[in-house]
């Protein structure tokens, strides 16, 4: 039995298979509408989430399956003090697969250790969010046609952003990848990510402070939110804050094929005037997340498109 707790749990070949399946589903969703008939996914969300929980539920419903679960710790037995280990033992008898989001890092691993059904990490604190990475990879591959030979700009809070760290590790397994890391000095990628994700793999990268200086050389611009309170001093914030807000002016400096991605929710780091730019793909990216999760559910349940679950 396989779980999906970390994007690196799957080899590049296995990930490619999942992404191939996601593309098949995208091309012909009707072919897959009964694949999970009679199957249930438990969405165990110990903290609020909009896109992730609903996209898991949409994914299972699109596959003909059913959904059960809870959307906050308050409405589960966690409020009575039940452990994650006990909860997953119970849920294992109720559902065929589980997606778990928990504020504590490593909770999905605890669940996987005790579970009799496949467990998907739907986000654990600031640690991992592998289905976001799967979504990001699927979006890039679908819209760019490849996951190799790309210059990827990661912009914003690169220190605390888990999606950014996961994406660096996932993309560093492909050839011809180059990163441009755009952040204030205090919010650069942690040493462990720089060392393990980039330096030991000889992945070319550079670290810069201003988006305007590099946006023209990017194939992908991956934006993340940067919070004022992350800056150590007010002067630094005032000096740099505008650099991390993507607007129509900056988009004029970007190449014609540069894709703008964002894990969402967006606050003000991308001006709404950018939304209509065909290079802005963050809403499409959120939609692609459903196909990626459909493919993942099928893979972990060992199902193929041409057979039904019953």
């Amino acid at each position: 039995m396989r779980h999906f707790l970390n994007p690196l749990d799957f080899s590049v070949a296995e990930l490619d298979q999942v992404l191939d399946l996601a593309e098949e589903i995208r091309q012909d969703p009707a072919r897959f509408r009964d694949v999970c008939k009679g199957k249930k996914i438990a969405t165990l969300f110990y903290e609020p989430s909009t896109r992730t929980r609903l996209s898991f539920e949409a994914a299972m419903l699109n596959l003909g399956g059913s959904v059960l679960g809870f959307s906050s710790a308050d409405s589960s037995s966690a409020a009575k003090g039940e452990s994650v280990a006990d909860t997953i033992r119970i849920i294992s008898g109720y559902a065929d697969i589980a997606a778990i989001r928990h504020p504590k890092e490593g909770a999905p691993l605890v669940a996987a250790q005790k579970s009799w059904i496949p467990v998907i990490n739907a986000g654990d604190g600031g640690h991992q969010h592998p289905t976001q990475t799967l979504t990001d990879l699927f979006t890039i591959r679908t819209l760019k046609g490849r996951l190799s030979d790309l210059t990827i700009g990661l912009c914003g809070d690169l220190k605390f952003g888990r999606t950014v760290h996961s994406l660096i590790f996932a993309l560093s397994r492909y050839t011809g990848i180059r990163f441009v890391l755009i952040s204030p000095e205090q919010l650069r990628v942690p040493d462990s990510v720089r060392k393990l994700g980039l330096e030991t793999k000889n992945i070319p990268f550079k670290e810069v402070e201003r988006l305007e200086d590099v946006i023209g050389e990017l194939d992908i611009l991956y934006m993340t939110r940067i919070q004022k309170e992350r800056f150590f001093n007010e002067d630094e914030y005032i000096r740099l804050k505008d650099s991390y807000i993507l607007d129509a002016e900056k988009m004029k400096l970007a190449g014609p094929d540069c894709l703008v991605m964002h894990p969402l929710p967006r606050v003000n780091e991308i001006a709404t005037e950018v939304d209509d730019d065909p290079r802005a793909v963050y809403f499409k990216q959120a939609h692609f997340g459903v196909y990626a999760r459909m493919a993942l559910i099928m893979t972990l349940l060992g199902l193929k498109g041409d057979e039904t679950a019953c």
């Binding site: 928990h102 504020p103 504590k104 490593g106 462990s192």
Partner: protein, 145 residues
């Protein structure tokens, strides 16, 4: 020069960094043993200048080599039988440590699930770094040189 009697059967932990024998004595749980244990502090050493030594009467099973390897893999372990060294055991960094160090990350699941073992694994690509298998936090290095 102080002379400590030779060990007939037991284990000698040699080349301990000077001043650390007492903490290692406690970390290995040697204070709980019934057998005879000798601690020699600040012994002269050609290699180290000064060193500490611990002599333990009894078998090697009294010493957790994983804990010792984590504390300091430069310590030499000599096994004594009938008054002579019959084996020198090299210490290596253990692959996995269970309930030897505690994860200090307040965001880690180990902070709320009381029954969970605290497990760290050696991150080979990072040298002597250990990471919590749950949250990825690095281990506190209160023991290491």
């Amino acid at each position: 020069m102080l002379n400590v009697g030779a060990l007939e059967n037991g284990v000698v932990l040699d080349h301990i960094q000077a001043g650390r024998a007492m903490s290692i004595y406690h970390d290995l749980g040697l204070h709980k043993l019934d057998s005879c244990v000798a601690i020699i502090k600040n012994a002269r050493s050609n290699k180290m200048g000064r060193k500490d030594i611990i002599k333990i009467e009894g078998g090697l099973d009294l010493v957790d080599l994983d804990v010792l390897g984590f504390i300091d893999h430069n310590i030499t372990v000599n096994i004594i039988k009938d008054g002579v060294i019959v084996e020198k055991r090299d210490l290596t960094l253990p692959k996995r440590l269970t309930n030897i160090i505690k994860c200090k990350n307040p965001r880690c699941i180990t902070s709320i699930e009381q029954e969970l073992d605290h497990v760290f694994e050696h991150s080979e690509a990072e040298g002597e770094v250990y990471r919590c298998i749950y949250c990825g936090e690095t281990s506190p290095y209160k023991y290491r040189r």
